[in-house]
Symmetry: C2
Subunit: 512 residues, 2 copies
């Protein structure tokens, strides 16, 4: 398939009218062709107008048709075959196996949401039947269902060029909710975005969905994204990226005459607690497991374990030695973009210079560009508590071990933590009392609390929460992974004494 | 019961350290004793610290105990007897029957939330059992439940001194969710607030709830409210009031290092559509019904019908004449506060001066202070579309009839409307086609769409939505009335491979 480097405005290819972006092969720093001209302000507005025009027909398509649309997107993505994987490898530096796995996840998400759409529970139907005989006042017939918020802006994420990009989790859940989607492609993988975008358009056409249900925009810098979030027709935003990026979109939303929900997944260091008995009895396994989790995808996961908490003592020292040994021998992995690599380098360099922070390990030297050499640091709880900088996420395979004097200091460190996507507890039976004491605190800090595992690896299922208190996300009341993500793009409407013929299908008496 | 004019800091009375506020009897402009000294910044902080300290014990109380607490609040409010009603009459100018009805609603809300707490559905349990044999990777055991956000700040509303004030809907739903509550009393009814606050404290004590589960603060101006919303221990805000007030609280939330959800119910003019056949066949009934709804509580309802939309012609003229006649003969009703009365006067005076707006009716002259003389205005869709000022809520018994040239212009007016709490359709069988065409538009504009009724009168039940797109509320994804209001104060947490002994009760295998 020849890459055309065109915007997709409601399914119609269009030549961008602003400066072009190019992907860069991070393994070689080679600039990739073609260049992708960006959307002009008028083209952003056109995509939003098309999305608005598609809203009514799209949200009223039968649920079965909507589900088939999602499944057809999955099929069309599969039909792209190896070309998709190869382009994504080129643009992201990620290995084939990872991208094939990610494609599987992307397909799985779309199919999961197809099932969710069909099941219909997300409509949240509640019915209070009329009570005409009630005194002193009769009660009306009241029926509630959830309806889509309206057109949604989705920002592709750099670190999941398939599963959280053009047809990723945000797009799948918004389309499932009945919302047309306008995607701003991540500039790191425009070719991958084009291929997937064309698959979505083909699926929309094949399933008879209205033009405008999907658009795809490119743009350098922030102007296209900001214009998109500022457009009055956009009613919600899905974003995965940096804290600064998320905050900028939130500020744009707040400056609209009608502020809208911004679901920004921003930053998390994902504390891993090594409780004493587990640390004693499983030092080697824990060190190996941690080193593996930290290096997964060059540490470029939102749930990367960036913070290890334990009680000071020989076992924690031994853990640190083993982990340092493993990481020192680790080969560098290509990071997603030169910019991300540079930020990683600056982040680990800055961390290494902080007083009281000791560098335990640096991965092997590597002459190739943009290689992430894993880093492991250590500090004391006293230093950690005194310096907020030590809580800042360094995106990539970097972790900090914090040794706590005693349980009380461990509690202080947990209390001082910002909101997180995950918190992990490594525990044995003898750790139960402590785990029980810490659990309420962990619940308040994180969207997912996991036991005797590592946080990388986010299952796409019904009970998943990929979210958490600020600054992990901008809205802790939701999740961006799993079937509950559909709720982000819905709002309730009550119908009072609505004539049966006018009632939405889900609210009719004969609806199961 | 002697009024003590003290703050309630986690159940302990305390003398306020800032300037005092006084209630004013709006029927006489008489200043009411005692004066209520406001909370100092340190006292605001103390209430928040107590709420934070109460969070863990309170959210872990058994659901049955929490439900009994809510029911005990209801009993303690009833036990205040006539003193509560009399003080509320004095401070609000509202008649006895209305306040007795409102007390019934307040009690009913607390009891409804007690039932909701017991039923437990709000915990939103989802379980994905482990699949140890799954290939290529086994699946962990994943369980989701919703937990309380944390301490909640509640602002009493002027227009419901019982049902949306100290122990009103926001407090009931937050307590039901497991969140301690710090109430900022509305300065218009401090005595009513004190009585209800003491009832809540008595109930907390009687039910063995932790100190700090409830605090009550007074304060003049905005400083107490702003300090409360800025306090890092507060995790959500419930507010009913003006658009300016809601926006100020939102801005404070956004300037926190951790922004929090602000549920502000702000402004709505609640369009009523008189479809042609209904207008023709029921002109008199509609005019009488509208005039009654408009005057209810001196028009001081959030769902007051402030906008009438119809197609121009003899029937709409006749409707206008009949409504004008009824409203011209209406007696003035005392408004809640001199400030609200003044704002009403300024609002109706300004509306009457707008070019293209005709004053159809002004209620009877009345020498008593703070009387709301109902007003009815009329304009054309052309004028309405050209002037955003005509969409602004005038709080009180003021309504504007907008005559539309044809259905297309009616659609244009609806399209131009801001978000609303309600939209009402008056229709007969012959209006079905038009109603069907308008319904999708109405759904997008309002949280509740009602048919052949009037919007005043908000049922407290499961299917109610009292909410709507901006500026009706700051968060259209929720409701502030009805059992779904509990969801505002919850967030999901996923437990992955949690040892059974540590699992929260709702997630245990043997939980029904």
């Amino acid at each position: 398939m020849t890459l055309r480097a065109q915007l997709l405005l409601g399914g119609q290819p269009a030549n961008g009218e602003a400066a072009a972006i190019h992907g860069i092969n991070p393994a070689t720093n080679e600039r990739l062709e073609p260049g992708y001209p960006g959307a002009s302000p008028a083209q952003v507005a056109e995509a939003c107008a098309l999305a608005e025009a598609a809203l009514e027909p799209y949200r009223h398509t039968p649920l079965e048709a909507r589900a088939v649309f999602l499944e057809t997107i999955a099929e069309q993505i599969l039909a792209l075959g190896d070309e998709l994987i190869e382009r994504a490898m080129l643009e992201s530096g990620l290995p084939r196996a990872r991208l094939e796995g990610e494609r599987g996840r992307t397909i799985g998400q779309l199919r999961l949401f197809a099932d969710v759409v069909r099941a219909g529970d997300w409509q949240g139907v509640r019915i209070d039947p009329a009570q005409p005989e009630r005194t002193p006042l009769p009660r009306s017939d009241l029926r509630l269902q959830y309806i889509p918020l309206g057109p949604v802006a989705v920002f592709g994420a750099s670190n999941f060029p398939l599963a959280f990009s053009v047809a990723g989790g945000d797009t799948a859940s918004a389309l499932a909710a009945g919302c047309p989607v306008v995607v701003k492609a991540h500039s790191a993988h425009p070719g991958t975005s084009e291929l997937v975008g064309r698959a979505v358009v083909a699926a929309a056409r094949e399933s008879g969905m209205p033009d405008g249900v999907f658009s795809l925009l490119y743009g350098s810098g922030n102007s296209v994204g900001q214009a998109l979030v500022a457009d009055p027709r956009i009613k919600a935003v899905g974003f995965t990226g940096s804290r600064r990026g998320g905050q900028a979109l939130l500020a744009t939303s707040q400056s609209r005459s009608e502020p809208i929900p911004v679901y920004a997944e921003m930053s998390s260091i994902n504390p891993v607690l090594l409780l004493p008995a587990a640390l004693d009895s499983r030092t080697e396994t824990l060190a190996a497991g941690f080193a593996g989790s930290l290096q997964l995808g060059a540490g470029q996961f939102c749930t990367n374990p960036g913070l290890i908490l334990g009680l000071k003592g020989p076992a924690l020292n031994h853990f640190a030695e083993l982990a340092a040994e493993a990481l020192s021998q680790a080969d560098a992995q290509t990071m997603l973009t030169p910019g991300i690599h540079q930020a990683y380098q600056e982040g680990v360099d800055a961390l290494g210079r902080v007083e009281g922070v000791e560098t335990l390990a640096t991965g092997r030297e590597d002459a190739r560009p943009n290689g992430c050499k894993p880093r492991l640091f250590r500090t004391t709880a006293t230093h950690f508590l005194a310096n907020e900088q030590l809580q800042q996420e360094v995106f990539g395979a970097s972790a900090l071990i914090v040794s706590c004097r005693d349980e009380a200091e461990l509690v202080m460190v947990l209390t001082a933590l910002e909101g997180q996507l995950t918190a992990t507890v490594q525990m044995d039976d003898q750790d139960h009392a402590l785990a029980r004491r810490l659990l309420p605190l962990l619940e308040r800090k994180a969207g997912r609390v996991l036991f005797n595992g590592f946080p990388t690896g986010v299952e796409v299922c019904h009970a998943m929460v990929h979210g958490g208190p600020w600054p992990a996300t901008s809205d802790s009341r939701t999740t961006s992974v799993g079937s509950a993500a559909i709720q982000r793009f819905l709002r309730p409407v009550c119908y009072q004494d609505c004539p049966p013929e006018l009632l939405p299908e889900a609210l009719q008496d004969d609806n199961p």
